[in-house]
């Protein structure tokens, strides 16, 4: 069985916007869900994994394809929704 992977397009956005969009998207997901974030700011390759470490999400894969990069993460126990 393969996991359903949700997608998030943050192309053209500069950090911290890809992180903010990732954070806000994760808040709508459930523990164990997977999310693939595509970005054009290479800084996101550091920032999104850092954000994941802080908030207890697992980074499954990162990579670069031409001018784009991507991060695949699995949502941890707390999706970070404040209320």
């Amino acid at each position: 069985m393969t996991d359903v992977i949700h997608d998030l397009d943050t192309r053209r956005l500069l950090c911290p916007m890809p992180v903010i969009k990732t954070q806000n998207k994760v808040r709508t997901l459930s523990t164990g869900d997977c999310l693939k974030v595509v970005c054009t700011d290479p800084g996101a390759l550091n920032d999104i994994p850092a954000w994941c470490r802080i908030n207890g999400h697992e980074v499954l894969e990162t990579g670069e394809q031409g001018n784009e990069c991507f991060v695949v993460l699995r949502v941890g126990e707390d999706n970070g929704a404040l209320f």
């Binding site: 950090c15 911290p16 054009t40 800084g43 550091n46 920032d47 954000w51 470490r53 802080i54 209320f83």
Partner: protein, 361 residues
């Protein structure tokens, strides 16, 4: 007076900029057993990351978002909040005026503490014991000429609505006791009395905590404190005859060479490959000029040409910054946002043709 043991673990939300002061403020709270989560606000003017992301010359530097990095070092969660839309009113109509250049420092601090206050109020309402009891900032009296003065500290507390739930651990002993101190949630005696622009006390405290890697200098994280950037923003407002901006506008002010040959149009000319790539993403919004017969920059046209001569002049200016600047003629393509394009061949502008007064910023 104060008690060492508390039945309830008190929780605070800290404004984390990514600089040393807020990092120390959180650490001081953690030392007192306070559970802290961080909040970082994105105003659109944050220097953080953007220039690194855009400019190729910075590619070799390690890229990191300092607020995330600080949160990781402190072992705290970090909420990053996009306030860029609401923040416009702060920039356009600061009740307390501007500090250096177009930086609305005092209103900015009030706004951010107010946002944090709304967060803790909401959390106290919905999350009960998992809510937050107070707000922490890394403010130090006398550190900033406009916002961090003894007289402005109570203004920030009052106008933000935080009142005595706002604690500044680095200078608390210079200020009246706040709720967390009076209630014994924190021990006032273990807070600090830093003041002034001297950074030695912060350095000593960092050393005591074993922190040796932090962003320097404190603050300076906002483009609005930058003279050249503020000039470009003022120019934008003047050209549009109104004081307003969109997020794309303020992003573009961070990139490229900005030349305004006429009041009704401005050229944003890339200076290197990273900027070229960034501006490329805006070609669907703006007319653009690129060189065809030789390598050269990408330029966006903010505004429009009133005549063919103006178009030719703009092309000549762009050619001036291309590899063909010494040639007799250079062919360029002018493309509209809808993709319709035409080519022109011009003699590149000579150094004296590009007037210093056109330089915005």
């Amino acid at each position: 007076m104060t008690q060492a043991t508390q039945p309830i673990k008190r929780r605070a939300i800290a404004l984390v900029s990514g600089g040393l002061d807020s990092m120390l403020a959180v650490k001081v709270m953690q030392e007192q057993g306070i559970e802290v989560e961080g909040v970082n606000f994105f105003t659109g003017f944050c220097v953080e990351g953007h220039t690194h992301a855009i400019r190729k010359k910075d590619k070799d530097k390690e890229k990191r978002n300092n607020s995330l990095w600080v949160a990781e070092q402190l072992g705290i969660k970090l909420h990053i909040i996009d306030i860029s839309e609401e923040y416009k009113d702060v920039v356009l109509n600061p009740r307390h005026g501007y500090g250096a250049n177009l930086n609305p420092c005092l209103d900015c601090k009030i706004f951010m503490v107010n946002q944090a206050t709304l967060m803790i109020n909401k959390a106290r309402e919905f999350a009960g014991d998992r809510g937050f009891d107070f707000i922490v900032t890394g403010e130090v009296i006398g550190q900033r000429p406009k916002s961090q003065r003894k007289e402005t500290m109570p203004i920030i507390s009052q106008e933000s609505g935080a009142d005595d739930r706002l604690l500044r651990p680095l200078c608390a002993r210079n200020l009246p006791p706040t709720l967390p101190e009076r209630e014994g949630w924190v021990n006032r005696d273990e807070l600090h009395d830093f003041s002034g622009r001297n950074r030695k006390p912060q350095m000593a405290l960092a050393k005591k905590f074993g922190l040796d890697d932090f962003a320097q200098p404190a603050g300076g994280c906002c483009f609005l404190t930058d003279e050249s950037y503020s000039n470009k923003l003022s120019d934008l407002w003047k050209a549009r005859n109104e004081r307003r901006y969109e997020l794309d506008d303020i992003m573009l002010l961070k990139v490229g060479r900005h030349l305004r040959p006429k009041p009704h149009y401005k050229l944003i000319i890339s200076r290197e490959e990273g900027e070229n790539r960034f501006l490329e993403g805006y070609r669907y919004m703006f007319s653009s000029i690129t060189t065809v017969s030789c390598p050269g920059p990408l330029a966006l046209v903010d505004g429009s040409f009133e005549s063919d001569e103006e178009l030719q002049q703009a092309a000549a200016i762009v050619a001036r910054y291309s590899k063909g600047r010494v040639l007799d003629e250079v062919t360029l393509e002018i493309r509209q946002p809808d993709g319709v394009a035409r080519q022109v061949t011009v003699r590149p502008a000579q150094p004296d043709d590009v007037l210093p007064a056109w330089n915005v910023g």
